[in-house]
Amino acid sequence: MLWFKKTGSVSSPLQQMRAKLPFLNELSARELGLLESIAHERQYMPGEIIFDEGEEGVGMYLVMEGKVRIFRKGMIGNQHDVALIPPGEFFGELALLDCFPRSASASAVEPTLLLGFFRPEIMDVIQDHPRLGMKFSIELARHLGARLRESTEKGNRAAVV
């Protein structure tokens, strides 16, 4: 049952994301529903802060619409961009693995719709539904691997230049 909400046949936000996020195609309808049930939908205005560098992270976000800027504060208070996250991509996923402070800040570049997935709820789903948990963990590892490769390549290029 949903609280004060009509149920209907409108496709869910995660179903709409299937084309952009191939991992979602590997999930059954039930598994997709489970992920959907723990997702928190949030809307941000352009320029609005999503989280601050140094804050304790509690989970990761999936960009549904809009764009997110990831940036760090420099020594003299200036900001330098780290990444621009388009729709269909995750950010803040390190917070799922540990309780360390966020390594960068995030803000919305344009009107942005995000789906938030948070550590305690994700951990519950992983424990309660091992098949979905395994698929999710592999996707997370794949995603982190890609990020690592990307930053290594950037570092190599910088060294060559």
Partner: protein
């Protein structure tokens, strides 16, 4: 009720504390009007936290959430049905025993009290002049005599009959808490501004965990208290033919439940134990003092051994505030207000802690104001 947590940074601000106390008093005033809903509501929150680990247990064995809830409720219903014949037989037996023994207990209590009062009166000439013992005895005889059967007993049954339907609401509300609790949490979180969202979510999780540990700990503590008290009474030699071990266990349970209400509950529990030991062995002062020492021992065991093991936290509500809130609960909400005073204070402390922690953070407030400015700007962009 014992308090819930230890360090509450959100509650450090005096304004937050004042609001928590004001909200508690207001809620207690309202509870008087809707106690029939407030009581099952609080009970179902307790039931929710006690049953959640079982639901998770079944879910981790492959059942869906709804399936796990139904299996759990099925098992609980089955166990209740299985236990019912024994409980009903026990109640029948106890009522027969009570019918035979209650007049004897009342008579023994009156005789014992009379003896004590006369001893005190004999040693004090002023009291003898006032004939205090005769006066108290006459009042007691009147209260325990026809007045008891005519007014107090039917009143008690009326009270029980009014409360039973209210208690039946508990499993119904608890079922929906179990099934739709997460959707409710999401609904509440949806209303929280973006700036405070992550912090609130973290607090929600930690409070949820604390509450679960607290209620499960309370159940374990109640069982431990009941058994210790029953065994203690048996050691004191008070468990005899008329007062079986089962009855002493029941009395231990009643005292342990009384102890949920701090200070007042403990005093009531102690009086009950002393009264029973006095009635069972009127001439034996060793039993009466033994009962007092037993009760104090149980309380000490409770504070220094059982509570750290089960609940694992020290009290964080000041004893003076505890007493004042319970008394205010009594004045504002009668007996239900007194019983619900601490749980209601606990709920408002949790809310106060959350609001206090997020609202008192200057960075979060600044982010909230920035978001408001951005929204206002967007909404009024095309307006002249």
């Amino acid at each position: 009720m014992r308090s819930l947590g230890n360090s509450r940074s959100g509650l450090d601000h005096p304004l937050v504390w004042s609001c928590v106390i004001a909200a508690t008093l207001l809620a207690l005033l309202i509870i008087r009007q809707i106690w029939w809903l407030a009581f099952p509501f609080v009970m179902s929150i307790v039931f929710y936290y006690i049953s959640t680990p079982w639901i998770t247990f079944f879910q981790r064995r492959g059942l869906s959430k709804n399936g796990a809830i139904w299996v759990f409720l099925g098992i609980v219903t089955f166990l209740i049905m299985l236990a019912s014949p024994f409980v009903i037989a026990g109640i029948n037996e106890s009522s027969e025993v009570a019918q035979k023994q209650v007049p004897h207990f009342v008579k023994a209590a009156q005789t014992g009290l009379n003896e004590v009062l006369h001893r005190i009166q004999d040693s004090n000439p002023d009291l003898e002049q006032l004939q205090a013992a005769e006066y108290i005895q006459a009042q007691l005889s009147d209260m325990l005599g026809p007045k008891f059967y005519k007014d107090i007993l039917p009143g008690f049954f009326d009270f029980v009959m009014t409360w039973v339907p209210s208690f039946l609401l508990t499993p119904y509300i608890a079922f929906f808490f179990l099934r739709d609790g997460f959707s409710l949490k999401k609904l509440v979180l949806r209303g929280i501004p973006n700036a405070f969202f992550e912090r609130s979510l973290r607090l929600f999780e930690s409070i949820d965990e604390q509450l679960q540990q607290y209620f499960l700990g309370m159940i374990a503590l109640t069982v431990l208290d009941s058994v210790t008290l029953a065994v203690g009474l048996a050691i004191l030699g008070l468990v005899t033919g008329t007062f079986s071990f089962g009855m002493s266990l029941l009395m231990g349970l009643v005292c342990a439940i009384f102890a949920w209400v701090p200070i007042v509950g403990s005093v009531a529990g102690c009086l009950l134990v002393v009264f029973v030991s006095f009635v069972l062995a009127p001439a034996n002062w060793f039993s009466v003092f033994g009962a007092v020492i037993l009760f104090l021992t149980v309380r000490l065991l409770d504070d220094f051994f059982y509570m750290p093991v089960t609940i694992g936290r020290s009290l964080s509500v000041h004893p003076l505030l505890t007493v004042l809130i319970i008394l205010a609960g009594g004045v504002l909400g009668g007996v239900p207000g007194m019983l619900l005073a601490m749980p209601v204070l606990g709920i408002f402390m949790v809310i106060g802690e959350m609001i206090g922690e997020v609202m008192m953070d200057p960075r979060l407030r600044a982010r909230y104001k920035q978001a408001q400015r951005l929204r206002k700007k967007e909404a009024s962009e095309d307006l002249i």
